[in-house]
Structures are given as structure tokens and as C-alpha cells.
Symmetry: C2
Subunit: 351 residues, 2 copies
């Protein structure tokens, strides 16, 4: 009697996509976020720069090329091992510029403060931003502060926008990815997401897991300085490695094959994931990225990355090839499976 | 027995400034906002561009000059006569660029959405932004969407940042203001603030007051195109005309004298202000600005402004002179009074 009806929506524990109201999953960086963008935002603002659908827009003006990007930060809790909303707000936007191949120059900051937020808490966030901007070699040059009523706003939300300058001729983005390219991963996966979760849920761990939150501009730009033909860069924030690769596969119509055995996941992150049923491939990192470039340049690129402290553990994890526009994971025992995009995020509000 | 103690803090109905927590008044654009910036933000990020303390930062890169600015929008209600949070978010940032003397090029948008927000409401906001970007000749090229839990966020907060190009040699800002300059006002005062208040409080008015929210780049840039030596431009948002002039007076250490009889306030705005004890000089407009330039160019500047629909009612309202760094209002009967900066805003969350 099984009539095999459409399984659409049945196999998935997250809500239907065409929901009449905003759901937490719309902010998770997965399929629901994509649909919201495609159904609401992209049609309204269609233009060639927005249609790049990269981490930022790259434009020419005054004879130079610039990148422009923005992110809002609503992470809970505001402070967590390895960082806080301030470090995240600086590094996240610095990294989006770096992923466009740009040298970060200037940041703006927009603060939405909740009435009753202790000034000392705000000072700590601002101090973190100051330290992070100095470390990343970027200057915060303009800003805005709004206050909302007590009970709204969760203490503080921060938006940063950033401008960077592109000092090389490469077009960095999915459009440049070629069959035969290799996929390099800059380090271990998942510490940011698990650090946030442990802090939020009061998880008792043997040793504290610290967020990997860090600025990635130096190692990313070193690849260009070394004359390498970097085709695409992508940081592994909301949705993790899996979502980043799926987006590139779908944009390029190429297959990404990655080797499970080559992907480093810290033992503790692995342990928490097994305990809670999370998949580390989808857990956010805030100081990790992938670089896609010609296979012949892999060794040179890895040598460049290994010279920077935040990417000492960089390695090759896979390659790009003709095929279906999806991500294949080859397991330790040689079997392969398709890596699907999640509807939402395993853990909301991690950035 | 009157010992005439310090009246500091007694004459003012708003809270003390060095409060240990964030108050609504910190977001009002008045003295409390200034103190928050001076005590928390400026010391942490000190750099020459931020220290311009203008509506945006102007920088040189690649042989050209650019302006960069940001604002977050938390207006309540989201929709009001004459506009909504979307039109405000586009025009507000377009206008901050124009006030830097820049031609607006690109906007970013960061949305913080509340779980449960009807998608149709979001669509309306996005559509308004689309219409406003087209009208202002600016492109929205990059964005971000976050979702926060139900009960937080008031439906939607929007941040926009903007980049514009400065296509003339003028240095626009308080530092260029000279004694002998005149102060031009681009139109009537206070419709935005009163429209918001009427919508929020369900005020029954004979005719609906519509917000003056509008893009100001065209008339502002026409002044430069006409070869006029524009010294300073400032839009009259949070804190209104009074706060804008006081900020310029304090930055320049010059006295601003304005004539009450020359300042147009719509009869209905005047009526609501009298009823509720508001002073129209402090009520926000979102489509009005002041231009400060040499007295000898006043007539030509007014002729330029009168050719643009949003500034047909522009007029001279005062002049800049040596004296104390404050704003003097000369009344209809010839008496003068000092215009003080408010601690907060008469009406919170108007933008």
C-alpha cells in the first residue's frame, strides 16, 4: 500500500521552506537562508555585483578595484572562550574581504544597544574590537549607535561593513574555479561552533574548547603575493565546510570530492558532535577557509600557508572535477556519499 | 538662603550622563550620545578618519576620494505615513554620503530579523528599499541576514553602509566653516519626527502628517557642480536642526546665529509640538539639510536648490561669526537665546 508519495519535506526534520513567517532556520546559512535570499532579496535588488553572490562585492572605481562587504552579529552569549561578539564582528568582516582577495582597509560599525546594557560590557566589546582591528591592520573609521527598549536586542547587536582594495588582477570567486583544481583547507574544523554551544548550554568539558576566531587576511593575501593563481576562497562560517563547498559546487556546476581522512577535526569537537548528533562538516569555524587553485600549485600554496601561524595545519582535502554539481565525501573505508545542504543550522546564532 | 548651588543636572529632566548602563537617551543623538561616543568609542578606535566626526569618513585610495558611512535603523513603527524602515535605511545612508559631498555609489544591507516576522512584511520593506535605491541612483551590492529569537528585534532592524565617490576638490565638514559664512536650510522642519510620533501613538490629526524622508544627493551635489564653495553640509536627523548646528558650533568654535522668523515649520507640526511641549528645532527631519557657504554665494546656492523638487523651499536662516561656540536664536521680536543641546531625544527610535 506504500504509494511512495513525494518525500519532499518528509525526510527533513526542519520546517517547510515556503513558510509565511521568518524562522530561526532562515538565519542558519543553509537551504532556508538561500531560499529567503532567492525569493525576497535577490529579485528586489538584481544587479551584476550582487549577482556575484560571493562573500562581498568587488567593484572598480577611480582606476582601482575594491571589495565591499557587510555582516551583522547576533551571537549568544556575547562572550565565549576564544573571543566575543567584538572580535567576531571585526574578524568576520575582515575575512569576508580577504575571501574576495582584498586587503582590508576600513571598517564601519553599527551598534544596536539594549537599554540597561552595562556600560562596562559595552566597553569590553569595544575593547575587543579595538584589539582585533589593530591585529588585522584595519581601521574603524565610521560608526553609529542606536538604543532599543529593554527586553529587545539581547544586550548588543553589531554590524560591521568593510572596504578592501584588490591589489592583483585575479578574479576570485566561484566563476574562476576549474576542473582539476585542488581544494585546500586551512586548519581544523568546528571549534567556533562547539565553543559557542558549550558556553551557551553550560556544557562541562574536560578542557575548554576555544573558538578559532581569527583574521585570515595575511595568509590569504600571501597566496596572491606568491604569484599563485587562486581561483576561489571561502571562509567556513555559518553552515561550515559542507555548506561552503555545496554553494561553490552549485555555482560552478562542478563536483567537489573531498577525502574524509584528510579533514582534521579536534578530538574534543568530534566527541561533542558524537554526543549531540552534530556533523563536524556543518559546524562553523570563524578562522578557517578553503582555497581552490590549480593542482600544480598545491605544494607551493601549502608552503605559503604553513608559514603563517593561523594556517600551519593547512592541507589538501579534495579536488574539483566535471560531474554533478554536488559534494562527494570519500570515507576512510573508500565508500562515497553525497553531502547535502542542511535546511538551517545545527545551532542557531553562532555569529 | 538660596545658595545657588551648581544647577548641573537639576535643570534637566533627563538622567545623569555617567550612568553605568545604557539608557534610551544614549541613542537620541544629543548630549548623552556624544558622551557615549567620547567615553567609549572614540578612545578605543582613535584615528584621523574617525576623528573627522562627520556623517561619514572620507579617504583616498587608488588616486580617488571616497566617502564611507553607516547607520542602523530601529524605527518604530516599521511603516509610517511617507515611508518605512526600508526607505529610511536607504535615504539615511545616501544622505550621509551626500553630506560628505560624495556621489553615492553602493550600499550594503544587514538585516536582523525577528523569528515570526511575516515574510510579506519583509517583502514590503525590501521593496521599499529597492524603490528608494533606484530613485537615489545607488546600487545595493552586498548584504547579510540574521535571525533572532521571537520577542527580540522588533520585527526587523536594518543596517546600511554606503560608499560614495567625491568628484570635486572641496573638503566638506566643520573644519572648512568660516566666519562670515551663511547657513541655508533646505526646507521645512519636523515632519519626520511628528509623523513617527503620530503613527506610534495613534494621534488623531485633521490631516495626516507625512514624513519628509527623501534622498538629498541630487540637490547637494548640484551645489558642487555649480562651482560653489560648499564648506559644510549636515542633514537634520536625530536631534534636529538645533543639534546639527550645536555640533558644528562646538567643532568649529564659532557662533551660529539663526533667525527664528526664517525657519519654516508646518502649521500642523507646530500645533502638535505646542500640544506636547516639543520644540520643532529638535524634531528630526529625514529629508532636510543645512548648507554652510560664503555669504557672497548665498543667492546662487539658493537658485541651485530651488531647481530641485526636494529643496524648492530652501532659504537663508542665519550666519556664522566669531564668538562663543554656541547657537544663538534671534526671536521674532528681536530677543536672543542660546539653543542648548538636549541630553537625549524628545522622542526615541525615530530612525
Amino acid at each position: 500500500m506504500d504509494q511512495s508519495p513525494s518525500l519532499n519535506g518528509l525526510s527533513c526534520p526542519t520546517p517547510l521552506i515556503d513558510h509565511p513567517a521568518v524562522l530561526m532556520a532562515h538565519g542558519g546559512g543553509g537551504r532556508m537562508t538561500q531560499r529567503l535570499l532567492e525569493q525576497v532579496f535577490f529579485p528586489a535588488f538584481r544587479n551584476p555585483l550582487l549577482d556575484q553572490r560571493h562573500d562581498g562585492a568587488v567593484f572598480e572605481a577611480g582606476g582601482a578595484r575594491f571589495a565591499f562587504t557587510t555582516d551583522s552579529y547576533v551571537v549568544r552569549p556575547l562572550f565565549f572562550p576564544g573571543g566575543d561578539i567584538g572580535t567576531l564582528a571585526v574578524n568576520g568582516t575582515v575575512n569576508d574581504l580577504a575571501m574576495c582577495g582584498a586587503r582590508p582597509l576600513f571598517l564601519s560599525a553599527g551598534f544596536v544597544l539594549e537599554e540597561g546594557l552595562p556600560i562596562d560590557t559595552l566597553r569590553r566589546v569595544v575593547q575587543s574590537m579595538s584589539t582585533a582591528t589593530a591585529a588585522a591592520g584595519v581601521r574603524l573609521v565610521t560608526g553609529d549607535t542606536k538604543v532599543v527598549d529593554r527586553g529587545k536586542g539581547d544586550g548588543v547587536y553589531v554590524n560591521t561593513a568593510g572596504i578592501g582594495v584588490v591589489e592583483h588582477a585575479a578574479r576570485v570567486g566561484p566563476a574562476s574555479v576549474q576542473p582539476g583544481d585542488v581544494i585546500l583547507l586551512s586548519g581544523d574544523l568546528g571549534r567556533h561552533g562547539i565553543a559557542i554551544m558549550a558556553a551557551r548550554e553550560g556544557l562541562e568539558l574536560e578542557t575548554t574548547i576555544e573558538s578559532d576566531c581569527a583574521a585570515l587576511a595575511e595568509p590569504a593575501l600571501a597566496l596572491f603575493a606568491a604569484g599563485l593563481d587562486v581561483h576561489c576562497l571561502r571562509d567556513l562560517t555559518r553552515g561550515g565546510l559542507a555548506s561552503a563547498l555545496i554553494e561553490i559546487a552549485e555555482a560552478t556546476k562542478l563536483e567537489m570530492e573531498i577525502q574524509e581522512s584528510t579533514i582534521p577535526v579536534p578530538e574534543q569537537v568530534q566527541g561533542v558532535c558524537e554526543l549531540l548528533g552534530f556533523d563536524p562538516l556543518y559546524v562553523a569555524s570563524e578562522g578557517r577557509f578553503i582555497a581552490i587553485l590549480p593542482a600544480a600549485q598545491a605544494e607551493r600554496a601549502l608552503a605559503v600557508l604553513h608559514a603563517h601561524s593561523v594556517t600551519t595545519d593547512a592541507r589538501k582535502i579534495g579536488e574539483v572535477r566535471e560531474g554533478s554539481p554536488l559534494v562527494m565525501l570519500r570515507s576512510r573505508i573508500g565508500s562515497t556519499r553525497i553531502v547535502d545542504m542542511l535546511s538551517g543550522e545545527q545551532l542557531p546564532r553562532i555569529c
